[in-house]
């Protein structure tokens, strides 16, 4: 139960990372000609996707474990 809700905090990381443009404003360093300001945000689309999928996995596994525990209690 703790891990199930605790993991939600991970979803707040992208807010801090992209809502403060002063952190990533600027053209250098470029990545294959792409300004930093742009590739930084593209990188966060990937990180955020990874985070949301991870949180989803953790929650579904926790839910399943809980459901199994409940069904065991019922059979006893």
């Amino acid at each position: 139960m703790q891990a199930r809700n605790g993991v939600l905090v991970l979803l707040l990381i992208p807010f801090a990372a992209v809502l403060l443009p002063q952190l990533y404003d600027g053209i250098h360093p470029r990545l294959d000609g792409v300004p930093f300001f742009i590739w930084y945000q593209f990188a966060w689309t990937i990180v955020t996707a990874a985070l949301t999928i991870f949180v989803y996995r953790v929650r579904t596994n926790a839910d399943r474990a809980e459901a199994r525990a409940e069904s065991r209690e019922e059979t006893h």
């Binding site: 002063q22 000609g33 945000q41 999928i53």
Partner: protein
């Protein structure tokens, strides 16, 4: 005029609307649109929910409005990236809770929830009206998107607007809500083909990304400090607003489980990368030396870029994909707004005994009126300089429903009058700033903005005022009257 381009465009357009027409006659069982759409047994699984939720973002907003802002204003237009990065974590955190309460208490719209939660038909009415009004400029953006595509094919812009409106009206009236679900598959396939081909072919044609960015003026590649706050408030405001729109709420509540919503929220961010690539088409249009068409300026940048980069037949295919990609969501939005009217205004206040047939009829007529309202927004001169301003104006209004809908899920001590007057304060100030700026921008300077000249998104500032009224008033009421009974508890 490019005959092969026009031929492909027209054939695909007819094909897709034809599918819509067939879809409407397929299951003739029950044509009561309200039951079909609103109640749908909450049985939509992951795939259909994906189209309903994901489809909210992949509209003319993505293909026309965002790249147009990047083309005209540079890096400011990239706020769509942080917007789409944070919107799904928000959905993950908020929407499953709304879904659970809505299912327990049988709510289908935000207005249903508000009526029950605050025991206030008056507040529920305000929420319903706000949803309908805020949807209109969002539909206007779609109509404008279709119109600039038709204009690029070589048609006069007034005629293009009339065609766009008529096609949308006829499509919605004839096919109702079944069609979008069936067409979504065709539409999304066409869109993905277009995006993938475009993102490979266009940069190659322009000499690769280093060459593209070398041709863009340096000032357009990052933000001046005066726009930092504007950038983040636009992103946050847009993200908070998206899932308050009637079509987004119905789409969420129609899914079959909380897990379906979470699964979608978990996997949709993977597509934000693609949305970002589409935003970069604005830079590519600069590098390609595109000269936009009057009178809607930068809004035609992407359609013209497609025409510039592709042979006629593929340009026709891609332009059809953009037009259909605007048509289908516009249709869904107008039906959601019409159903909201029917359920929470017509049968609530005007004709409680309306037969299902009458409800469907009222819904159809209102969906037409909503589209006429949308055209009204297009006729406001400054609002269409950048199509994205239309969507952001809708955001100013829909954001004011946040305390009543989202905050009420978490905070038990909200007072109905506090929420009502908070709404009023937010609507009044937000609308005032939009009008004071002559609708030319959704950003304005405020006394509290920090650096001189710092601009903020009007919608988020109005929402902050709304929130202060709601919180202070609620706490004061609580202090005077004692503890507010929790939701579901009997009043003391």
């Amino acid at each position: 005029m490019h005959p092969d381009e026009i031929a492909v465009f027209v054939v695909l357009g007819l094909l897709v609307t034809g599918i819509g027409f067939i879809a409407s006659r397929w299951h003739r069982a029950d044509l009561n649109a309200l039951e079909e759409w609103g109640l749908a047994g909450r049985r939509f699984g992951t795939v259909v929910t994906w189209f309903l939720l994901g489809g909210d973002l992949y509209t003319a907003y993505t293909f026309v409005a965002v790249p147009a802002l990047v083309y005209g204003s540079g890096a400011l237009g990239l706020f769509a990236l942080p917007y789409t990065i944070i919107v799904y974590p928000l959905v993950f955190l908020i929407m499953p809770k709304l879904w659970q309460i809505a299912r327990e208490r049988g709510h289908v719209t935000a207005s249903d929830y508000v009526k029950d939660r605050f025991d206030s038909p008056g507040l529920a009415l305000l929420i319903a009206i706000t949803g309908i009004v805020a949807t209109m400029p969002y539909i206007a953006l779609q109509i404008l998107g279709i119109a600039v595509v038709i204009q690029v094919l070589g048609v006069n812009i007034e005629v293009s607007l009339i065609i766009a409106f008529l096609v949308l009206a006829v499509f919605t009236y004839v096919s109702g809500l079944r069609a979008p679900a069936l067409i979504a598959l065709v539409k999304d396939t066409m869109i993905w083909i277009t995006v993938i081909v475009a993102i490979i072919v266009i940069p190659a044609k322009l000499g690769g990304f280093p060459a593209i960015f070398a041709k863009v003026p340096a000032a357009k590649l990052d933000l001046p400090p005066t726009l930092f706050a504007g950038y983040s408030t636009l992103a946050l405001g847009s993200a908070l607003a998206l899932f308050l729109y009637p079509h987004a709420i119905t789409g969420t509540l129609a899914s079959n489980s909380q897990n379906t919503i979470r699964r979608n929220a978990a996997f949709l961010p993977a597509y934000s990368f693609l949305l970002g690539l589409i935003a970069l088409f604005g830079y590519m249009a600069i590098a390609a030396g595109i000269k936009p068409l009057a009178p809607y300026g930068a809004n035609s940048a992407v359609p013209q870029l497609i025409q510039f980069a592709f042979p006629g037949w593929f340009a026709g295919f891609a332009l059809a994909a953009i037009a259909i990609g605007a048509l289908v969501p516009a249709s869904v939005m107008s039906i959601a707004a019409a159903n909201l009217f029917c359920r929470n205004i017509w049968t609530e206040y005007i004709r409680p005994a309306a037969s299902p047939k009458e409800e469907a009829q009222v819904s159809k007529i209102v969906s037409l009126l909503v589209k006429l309202g949308a055209v009204g927004f297009i006729l406001i001169p400054n609002l269409t300089q950048y199509a994205i301003t239309l969507q952001l104006a809708g955001g100013v209004w829909i954001l004011q429903t946040l305390p009543a809908v989202f905050l009420a899920l978490y905070v038990r001590w909200l007072d109905r009058w506090a929420v009502t007057f908070g709404w009023l304060a937010g609507m009044a100030t937000g609308t005032y700033w939009l009008v004071a700026g002559k609708f030319a921008s959704s950003l304005a300077t405020f006394p509290i903005g920090g650096h001189a000249g710092t601009k903020l998104y009007i919608g988020l500032v109005a929402f902050a005022i709304n929130l202060v009224v709601v919180v202070v008033w609620s706490l004061a009421t609580q202090a005077v009257r004692g503890r507010t009974p929790a939701y579901g508890e009997a009043a003391a």
